[in-house]
């Protein structure tokens, strides 16, 4: 378990959108983040230094640039998620990987996964 700080969050977490968000939802989320972290905003008053604010805003802009472009978004998804080992492991029990959501499993879900493994061991590819 690792608690992520802002610099470690992926682009979806940064913009507070889900991985299957539409381009319009991503645009709206970006507009809100821009208003939140712009210089004149009072939302971050007393919590963020000017340096932290600029850093997070840069990351948010980079996130938006990547996710608004479908080609860049797909490449990012492959790099960040689909190439990871645990993504492939979870995909065994799903009909299609397109519907798979990567998120931290709850304890109950991990327990259920262990039980499933006892009865339905994954096929080796």
């Amino acid at each position: 378990m690792k608690i992520k700080n802002v610099m470690e969050m992926d682009y979806y977490e940064l913009l507070n959108v889900s991985r299957n968000s539409s381009p319009q939802e991503i645009e709206r989320a970006f507009e809100l983040c821009k208003i939140t972290y712009e210089r004149d905003s009072i939302a971050h008053y007393s919590l963020l230094s000017e340096e932290d604010r600029k850093l997070v805003l840069e990351r948010i802009e980079k996130a938006y640039e990547t996710l608004r472009d479908s080609r860049k978004r797909k490449a990012y998804d492959v790099e960040m998620f689909e190439s990871k080992k645990d993504y492939r492991e979870r995909a065994f029990f799903r009909k299609t990987t397109e519907k798979l959501l990567i998120e931290d499993t709850t304890e109950r879900a991990s327990l259920w996964r262990k039980i499933k493994y006892l009865f339905f061991a994954p096929r080796k590819r």
């Binding site: 378990m1 608690i3 802002v6 969050m9 809100l32 208003i35 939140t36 971050h44 919590l47 997070v56």
Partner: protein, 314 residues
């Protein structure tokens, strides 16, 4: 003429049978943000729906809820319970002009109530928890003292009332950080992991922006303890109301604050809505008439109704 409520035994029995009681505590740190107005208005509307709401004025330094409800007479109040003049909190309950709404007034006669000691505070908290009402709304008042924070953490959920001003936001963040530290302290004492936490506690005291650093260092030392602390924090889900919103940007401020708090304080805040500014609130207060009764169709009234229904029936 108002009477002390003498509820039947039936409602106590229903509590024992597991009838759910909700406690909403309204706070926020800064004074003058409209906590008392919001508490009173929410209670009035909720009572019109549920018929069993008790409003408690736990603003120990400056109780005003009776004024917002248009009640001037003196009655038994919280001070009488805290000073043991009456044995039970329910003995201080008074009826209000609103059907289904009861009030426990803040004290007018006991001075220095704000300096209530630990034992009196715990006695009050015990009685609130077992109080015989389906819905309890507590106005905890101003500041981030231990008393305010413990009343806030007693609730499910707590409600922060913030104005779209830097001072109010600053105090709200200070209040939230104080709540986080209080939760961590209570949890570490309960689970006996104080020694580990004390070694790393200097991070929290010196620089409360480094909650991530603090939790990640705990993880590196003891994953189980970190898991306990993280789950305790994740169960802390206060709500947020923006009061006195004047511009479109003020109405969006709530979502911005939710995002900032999630990213930097590891807390999931739930934005309930924004209440627009209205000069008629002050006019009603001066006339000692409840705003919601006088202007039931105003935008403020509609916002409050929407917030209450969102919270009560989500």
């Amino acid at each position: 003429m108002y009477q002390v409520n003498t509820e039947s035994k039936g409602s106590l029995l229903s509590l024992r049978q597991g009838k759910e009681k909700t406690i909403w505590a309204v706070g926020g740190g800064k004074g003058g943000t409209g906590k008392s107005f919001v508490s009173a208005s929410m209670a009035i509307h909720l009572a019109s729906l549920e018929k069993d709401v008790t409003l408690i004025d736990a603003d120990l330094g400056g109780p005003n809820l009776h004024t917002f409800l248009g009640m001037k007479d003196s009655n038994l109040d919280l001070g009488d319970f805290v000073t043991n003049k009456v044995p039970n909190l329910k003995d201080t309950v008074i009826l209000t002009p609103f059907v289904g709404l009861k009030l426990i007034k803040g004290t007018e006669n006991v001075l220095f109530m704000a300096n209530m000691n630990y034992y009196k505070k715990m006695k009050l908290i015990r009685h609130i928890k077992t109080f015989d009402a389906k819905r309890v709304i507590i106005d905890i008042g101003t500041g981030a003292s231990y008393n305010c924070i413990d009343f806030f953490l007693l609730s499910n959920p707590g409600i922060l009332v913030v104005n779209p001003e830097p001072t109010s936001i600053e105090n709200a963040y200070y209040f939230l950080k104080s709540c986080i530290i209080r939760i961590l302290k209570v949890v570490t004492e309960f689970y006996g992991i104080e020694d580990l936490v004390n070694k790393i506690a200097v991070h929290i005291k010196d620089n409360s922006k480094s909650i991530y650093t603090f939790l990640n260092e705990i993880i590196s030392h003891d994953k189980n303890s970190a898991h306990i602390l993280f789950r305790a924090l994740k169960r802390f889900n206060p709500c947020l109301i923006i009061n006195n919103a004047r511009s479109e940007r003020d109405f969006l401020l709530g979502q911005s604050i939710v995002d900032v708090v999630k990213k930097y304080l590891v807390v999931d805040l739930n934005f309930l809505g924004a209440i627009p500014h209205d000069e008629k609130i002050h006019t009603s207060l001066k006339r000692l008439t409840p705003y919601l009764s006088t202007y039931p169709n105003s935008e403020v009234a509609l916002s409050i109704r929407s917030i209450v229904e969102k919270l009560a029936y989500k």
